[in-house]
Symmetry: C2
Subunit: 221 residues, 2 copies
């Protein structure tokens, strides 16, 4: 499951006030979403309603048939900035959202892995590159997408890379070659900027950001 950053934002915009659970990737939207505008109870199959449960303060999807309360919470996206001899590994996206735009390897964290393992896995899946994950670089909350993005510094273990199934192209670029106007997601722009500033200053800090949405501008829907 690689690099569906921003997908939830896109669908979120089309359904104001609803929550979109899961990004879409590789499959058509109607075949691949755990749509947070939940319709049926996953425990018993009956219809759910949205309501603030007793003792709670936020509306949840509730099943009146079996009494189950279905909570929805932010998802974690893990990624890294892989470096090799001063250059940075970027991927050109082969899938929507932001097909044809550039990003660093990143995607949804899976159950059963650490943040660092997830970041390394995504790099291997999207850029066919093996990395050593380094220090924490950024933690970005994307409010509208219900996501938290965690990026790490990373080092290529060998200069071997190439496009995985969700990438059109993968290349090492110098800081001057970064296609800033064609970066897919705002969290990537923020992260790359902090990375380069820190590298120039010889430090490895971590940075927080809050974004309302994941993409630089509204997507046509």
């Amino acid at each position: 499951m690689t690099c569906p950053l921003g997908a939830r934002t896109r669908r979120y915009e089309g359904r104001s006030g609803t929550t979109v659970q899961r990004a879409l990737h590789l499959h058509p939207p109607h075949l691949n979403s755990q749509n947070a505008a939940m319709k049926f109870c996953s425990e018993c199959g009956n219809k759910v309603v949205q309501r603030v449960p007793p003792g709670d303060h936020l509306p949840r999807f509730v099943c009146d048939a079996c009494g189950t309360i279905h909570y929805q919470n932010p998802k974690i996206v893990v990624g890294c900035v892989p470096e090799h001899e001063g250059r940075i590994l970027l991927c050109k996206r082969a899938i929507e959202p932001r097909l044809g735009f550039w990003t660093v390897p990143a995607g949804f964290m899976e159950n059963g892995e650490t943040l660092q393992q997830g970041a390394a896995r995504e790099c291997h899946e999207e850029a066919m590159a093996r990395v050593e994950i380094g220090s924490l670089l950024s933690l970005v909350t994307v409010i509208g997408a219900h996501q938290v993005h965690a990026f790490f510094r990373a080092r290529l273990l060998e200069p071997t890379y190439g496009p995985g199934p969700e990438s059109l192209e993968v290349k090492l670029v110098t800081p001057e070659e970064i296609p800033w106007k064609d970066i897919a997601f705002q969290s990537t722009v923020f992260t790359l900027q902090r990375y380069l500033e820190d590298r120039a200053a010889g430090r490895e800090n971590h940075y927080f950001a809050t974004l309302e949405r994941g993409t630089p501008r509204p997507l046509a829907s």
Copy 2:
């Protein structure tokens, strides 16, 4: 939604091989779980099966009726170590799991808030205390619980606190008074230890840990 840390672990143990989506709190288990052993499709209400979808590498809950793939990912728990004049604010849990054990204020991050806002909200809900959130203290992956815990340093804005609905007791303790054997969760132990070490050394680093489970020992189920 406050401090259900570890609840998913508890249920997870009772259902080997399944995934538990959501902790239980305040309500009986059968009335309050988004059980990750999903049975019915939340899009169309038909039964789901578990299978590796085409192009994927992990089993997911899939609906053959409407084609929806339901992803399940780690949840984020946010918390803080609130300090006031050298003492630390602890809460005695009024709910399972780990009822009667001590913890720092923490709970599941909600959609629409940042990590820091969530940590401050949980402190207000559980300890009726207002805090200023400080630097990142720890990021703990709890593998078996499908959770990532993010803890921050914090400072009480005024020495006002008390038990919220999910706490039996809230108190400020000196480092010597911390009831180490009665701390509810391993991530809290790790976090408090690093906090005190850093404070003694006059630094504010952040720390990573990976835990297989959230609680110090198996819970009777």
